[in-house]
């Protein structure tokens, strides 16, 4: 709680309700959610499918309108990454990043230098001319991360971005993401259903529960960084969260 009052709030959500459909068939994806995310915080949203994690992210990204309630980002720019890299297949890796720069209003004269610089940041120097289908899943996700950074947003929303990657690639990308998050002082909201991943990355983990989607429990991860996903400290907290998740399951 003390950290919350000390830092400025980047994301403030009050009474957020999101329902889909009408009449008898309608479902409540989020049922009155309150949330504060401090500037520079790495927040992980953890929960099983259907608990409204992705819905919350879509509302934060303004891809979806809330049914009721308010979302205040204080005018901050938002970038988003998905489980699928969603690179544009007709553009090269460099072209994808250049497009993001163009849409962010970066003048043409500065774009190529910025593309090179951004690719270097994620150690993708040699891949500028590669097409998405020529890259591995991990490389594609790196390019997607760089494309998100190209928007120069202060808030980065990530919807299970490493869910489809093998464990070794994922570990490397955790390190990269952590480094970039620190260097750029980003506020990150990271959705995952992998408990260890949440503890490995998050300053704070929110455990969400379904029908209707809500925050069930919260954990401040007091493990010093750099962390390892296979360390006993991470394992111990992951076990506690897993127990809570399983308790949820026995209730429904």
């Amino acid at each position: 709680m003390t950290t919350l009052t000390a830092a400025r709030t980047a994301i403030r959500v009050r009474g957020l309700i999101k329902s889909f459909g009408h009449g008898r068939g309608h479902t409540v994806a989020l049922g009155g959610l309150d949330l504060d995310v401090a500037e520079g915080q790495f927040l992980c949203l953890l929960g099983r499918s259907g608990c409204g994690k992705s819905t919350l992210l879509n509302v934060l990204a303004q891809l979806d309108e809330p049914t009721a309630g308010s979302v205040d980002l204080g005018g901050r720019k938002v970038a988003m990454m998905f489980q699928d890299a969603t690179l544009f297949p007709w553009l090269t890796a460099g072209g994808n990043i250049a497009l993001a720069l163009r849409l962010a209003g970066v003048p043409r004269s500065q774009r190529s230098a910025r593309v090179a610089e951004l690719l270097e940041l994620a150690h993708l120097g040699g891949l500028q001319q590669k097409r998405p289908h020529e890259l591995s899943g991990g490389m594609r996700q790196r390019v997607a991360l760089v494309r998100a950074l190209a928007q120069d947003a202060s808030v980065l929303l990530m919807d299970e971005p490493f869910g489809a990657l093998d464990a070794m690639t994922r570990d490397v990308l955790h390190d990269e993401l952590e480094r970039i998050w620190r260097e750029r002082r980003l506020t990150v909201v990271f959705v995952t259903h992998n408990v260890r991943e949440a503890v490995r990355l998050g300053d704070r983990v929110l455990l969400m529960a379904p029908s209707p989607g809500r925050v069930d429990a919260e954990l401040d991860v007091d493990v010093p960084r750099p962390r390892r996903i296979d360390s006993p400290e991470v394992g111990e907290r992951a076990r506690r969260l897993t127990d809570q998740l399983q308790a949820q399951g026995s209730m429904t």
Binding site: A61, L63, V78, A79, M80, F82, D84, T86, F88, P89, W90, L91, L99, A100, R102, L103, A104, R131, P132, H133, E134, R147, Q151
Partner: protein, 277 residues
């Protein structure tokens, strides 16, 4: 190691022109030889007298003579100019109609299925009306060519945009693409393969409509390929008739091949259809 590299390089320098071309050419050559042989056999069998069904040699001689003269090239020129004008206009009409249908729900309900209906309608069925409207004129031909080709082009564009992956669309919106920039930077490039398929099909329809048109709408002192067919039949000049048909077939195939090459290049660059079946 060096030996392997050398072989690979030699292959690269050698294969596309030499062996790859041969790999594509020999099946075509074989098919052509078989077709000509069958034709020759039918001609020899006396199934029809040879002033009605000439043998390949007679047709080849007629074709060679006319390729050496100017009249055939004049006819090809007229026909290709009509094809170019008609197809360009079809692209314009098809693209605008396609975009309008995509943008407007009402328009889609109103004309969506009509477009497919027009596509299935034989273009020759339009000619009586076209001739009533425009007499025996260039406009009559143009009218039917556009009606034949534009629906395919519109449908290609519509299906390309309809099949746009929602995930890509979300990514584009998160990147801040909206309005015109959404169309120019994401929607149109994403729809390009289907649009090209529509253009390729549109060309086939345009070419068919044009030949039908030139057969029916004969304009005095203006030789064209379809018109040439008409006169060859009138004068019972079978070698000329078949030679002109071959010219029509070859032009259709060349243009189709150009579209196929462009479409395959686009697909390959996106990692689509790269695997041999």
């Amino acid at each position: 190691m060096t030996a392997t590299t050398a072989t690979v390089e030699a292959d690269r320098g050698h294969r596309p022109i030499g062996r790859a071309l041969w790999a594509r050419l020999w099946p075509m050559t074989a098919a052509l030889v078989i077709a000509l042989t069958l034709w020759q056999l039918v001609a020899w069998s006396g199934f029809r007298p040879d002033y009605v069904l000439p043998d390949p040699l007679a047709v080849g001689k007629d074709l060679a003579d006319r390729l050496g003269g100017t009249e055939l090239w004049h006819a090809i020129g007229t026909t290709m100019r009509r094809a170019a004008v008609g197809f360009t206009l079809s692209i314009l009409v098809g693209t605008l109609v396609g975009l309008a249908v995509v943008k407007s729900r009402v328009l889609r309900t109103a004309v969506g299925s009509l477009i497919t209906g027009l596509q299935t309608m034989p273009s020759i069925a339009w000619f009586p009306l076209a001739i009533l409207l425009f007499q025996l004129s260039e406009q009559a031909i143009l009218f039917v060519v556009v009606l034949g080709a534009a629906p395919s082009i519109a449908n290609g564009l519509i299906s390309g945009i309809d099949d746009l992956s929602p995930q890509l669309l979300r990514a584009a919106r998160v990147l801040g693409a909206k309005g015109v920039s959404l169309y120019t930077s994401v929607v149109m490039p994403a729809a390009l393969p289907a649009y090209l398929a529509g253009l390729k099909q549109g060309w086939a329809f345009a070419w068919r409509s044009l030949m039908a048109g030139e057969l029916l709408v004969v304009i005095a002192n203006r030789p064209a390929l379809g018109t040439d067919l008409h006169f060859a039949r009138e004068f019972s000049d079978a070698p000329r008739l078949i030679a002109t048909m071959i010219v029509i077939l070859v032009i259709g195939m060349i243009v189709d091949g150009i579209f196929a090459t462009i479409a395959n290049g686009v697909r390959r660059r996106r990692g689509l259809g790269a695997l041999p079946l």
